[in-house]
Amino acid sequence: MSFKTRRSAGDGKFGEYGGQYVPEVLMPALEELTDAYERYVLSNEDGFMDELRERLRDFGGRPTPLGRADRLSERYDTEVYLKREDLLHGGAHKLNNALGQVLLAKYMGKERIVAETGAGQHGTATAMAAAHLDMPCEVYMGRTDINRQRPNVFRMRLNGAEVNPVTVGRGTLKEAISETMRDWAMTVENTHYVIGSVVGPHPFPSMVREFHAVISREARQQFDEQVGGLPDAVLACAGGGSNTMGTFDAFLDDDSVSLYAVEAGGSGLGVNDETGVAPNSASLSTGTDGVLHGARTKILQDPDGQIVESHSVSAGLDYAGVGPQLAHLVDTGRVSPVNVDDNAALAGFHRLSNTEGVIPALETAHAFGFIEENHEDLGDRVVVNVSGRGDKDLETVIEETASHDIENAPDMDVFERMGGL
């Protein structure tokens, strides 16, 4: 079966998953967006994709390199290659989609951009793209995430975006998406909602995947040119799944390539029945079929169907759902859902930082936690997508490293030698 038979927008279903579970008020906008997606993105009408490619090159810095990780390759006796999306403008893969959607909004004649953000990476990418293309932009961000991702809040403000705190619930990505949908229901006639992952109602999961597919198209070609042939395994971290789908897309029909979606195992799997909280964000590994934020997919829920709070040390993975196409690819066996806990992710963060000179985002660090424990099963040649850089996470890492007792972390006694913090 070919996974490439999906280049038309279709009905937005991936097996049983996907669809459009949204209020009627938004449906006409989704129809309009589907039409624009087919014409501009899939058919390059008015040279849309040409302009996007140029802007991704000149403003974004594409293509990003693929490079060998020498120390990790030696450590694991496996060739490890890093796809460097952390080098894309903004420090994460997020700009691929944000620039694509803000440009599309311009082609559609929209006058205003709204977006949600979790870790703040999508919010900063959208704020950047909106400033670059001269569009007013408002970003909804949960209060918990504002506190743990302060540098990104400043970056959004510096780029001229309004940041609207969301105070309901636990104040993370789930609440931010709900609140952005509410804004959009009010402003839908002149506003485009730049959703930040391959989630939400059709056509968002297909369209966001399409904008991020450039990651795997480049990586597949670079690997062939630099190394020859195909890798045995491709790894990407998975929260909502945008870097995951972007990293897998061009490899979907390469049966010899194993695809691993690495989720946040948090501090433990499953849902705690007493607290009603999932101390993880592993929707692909442990979630069940349900409907959240406009799509049927795998979600973290209680037996009644109430969405539970998720957890991860990484704000960008902290979400109770996942893209419907990924859910389908897991059910068909094409993608293996795996997960590592907070500790393994933190150790992965320090390992990549001090052996390769690359400070990864905490999201990305989960993939390096996985390879440490499973490198013997991954074959001889592995590509890992470095979805983002870790500068935004430094405060969290300093705090969490102390409380989790991570053995490969550097000693920060330089501060003490200076006379205390």
């Binding site: 669809g19 459009q20 579970y21 209020p23 009627e24 008020v25």
Partner: protein, 280 residues
């Protein structure tokens, strides 16, 4: 159908409350107060953790109801225990319907719709279930002999309107304005526009207008513009919120609810008389 016939000669008053807000006991008393205040149909919310179509007032009500322990099985008990004659419509989000499993482990819309119908629910409004995804729910409602009410928005174009009307039963929920539920201080001009467009279609379904109606004056103007009924949620939930610090029902809240119900119903009647003066 019983819901359609609840819209009689006079314009209908359709209040909404979230079941279990602020407690199961108090909520029961408040729903019964609305029944006494002259409700013609009652929309009873089954609280869902991600109510994407609701503004801050009803979001807060949903949080209170969930904290009070409201669940789908308790909702069915709640409906069974209510002492009201008014037809009840269950307003909820699709995931709760989709996840429901009955005692014989039958699941999904079919199981929930039948269980709700057995408990006394006569119809459903599901804000995140557009016509594109409504087939399983529509089939379950047909099978159980209850109604599935479609929502028409100001953005709904003519092609969609036709499809919506084709699958709607009981009544049509006309969303008066863009955005989410919430009590505003004016009446949107777009309501009259939507009602005028609906008149061009050959449908006998009553048109009930909701989103932002909070006073008798609003109700009068909405019915004056041609509505068959007014749906009022946030203005009533605001009153419930004032008594939310106690789990016991308070007479003051129940009285205020009944008073506002009477005001809204009287306003709606005024509106009808302005349209049809001969009925005085």
């Amino acid at each position: 159908m019983s819901l359609e016939s609840a819209f009689g000669d006079d314009p209908a008053f359709v209040p909404y409350l979230a079941a279990g807000d602020p407690s199961i006991e108090a909520s029961k008393a408040y729903v019964e107060a609305l029944d006494r205040g002259g409700a013609d149909v009652i929309e009873l919310g089954l609280p869902f953790s991600e109510p994407i179509a609701e503004g801050p007032t009803i979001q807060a009500a949903v949080v209170r109801a969930l904290q009070a322990g409201m669940t789908p099985p308790r909702y069915l008990e709640f409906v069974r225990d209510l002492n009201v004659e008014t037809p009840l419509v269950c307003m909820t989000y699709y995931n709760l319907i989709y996840q429901y499993r009955d005692e014989s482990d039958r699941g999904g819309p079919d199981a929930f719709v039948h269980a709700a119908a057995d408990a006394g629910v006569e119809g459903f409004v599901v804000p995140d279930l557009p016509v594109e995804e409504a087939d399983p729910m529509r089939a379950a409602c047909d099978d159980a002999g209850v109604d599935l009410v479609s929502i028409v928005a100001p953005t709904t174009g003519d092609d969609r309107l036709e499809r919506l009307l084709a699958i709607s039963s009981g009544y049509v929920y006309v969303q008066a304005r863009l955005g989410v539920t919430g009590a505003k201080d004016d009446v949107s001009g777009r309501t009259a526009e939507t009602l005028a467009r609906l008149r061009e279609y050959d449908t006998t379904l009553p048109k009930a207008v909701g989103f932002g109606i909070r006073t008798g004056d609003h109700a009068e103007r909405i019915v004056g513009a041609g509505a068959d009924g007014v749906i009022v949620g946030s203005a009533l939930v605001d009153i419930v919120a004032k008594g939310a610090e106690t789990e016991k029902p308070t007479d003051a809240v129940a009285e205020q609810l009944a008073d506002l119900a009477r005001e809204l119903k009287a306003g709606a009647l005024q509106g009808r008389m302005a349209v049809e003066p001969e009925r005085k």
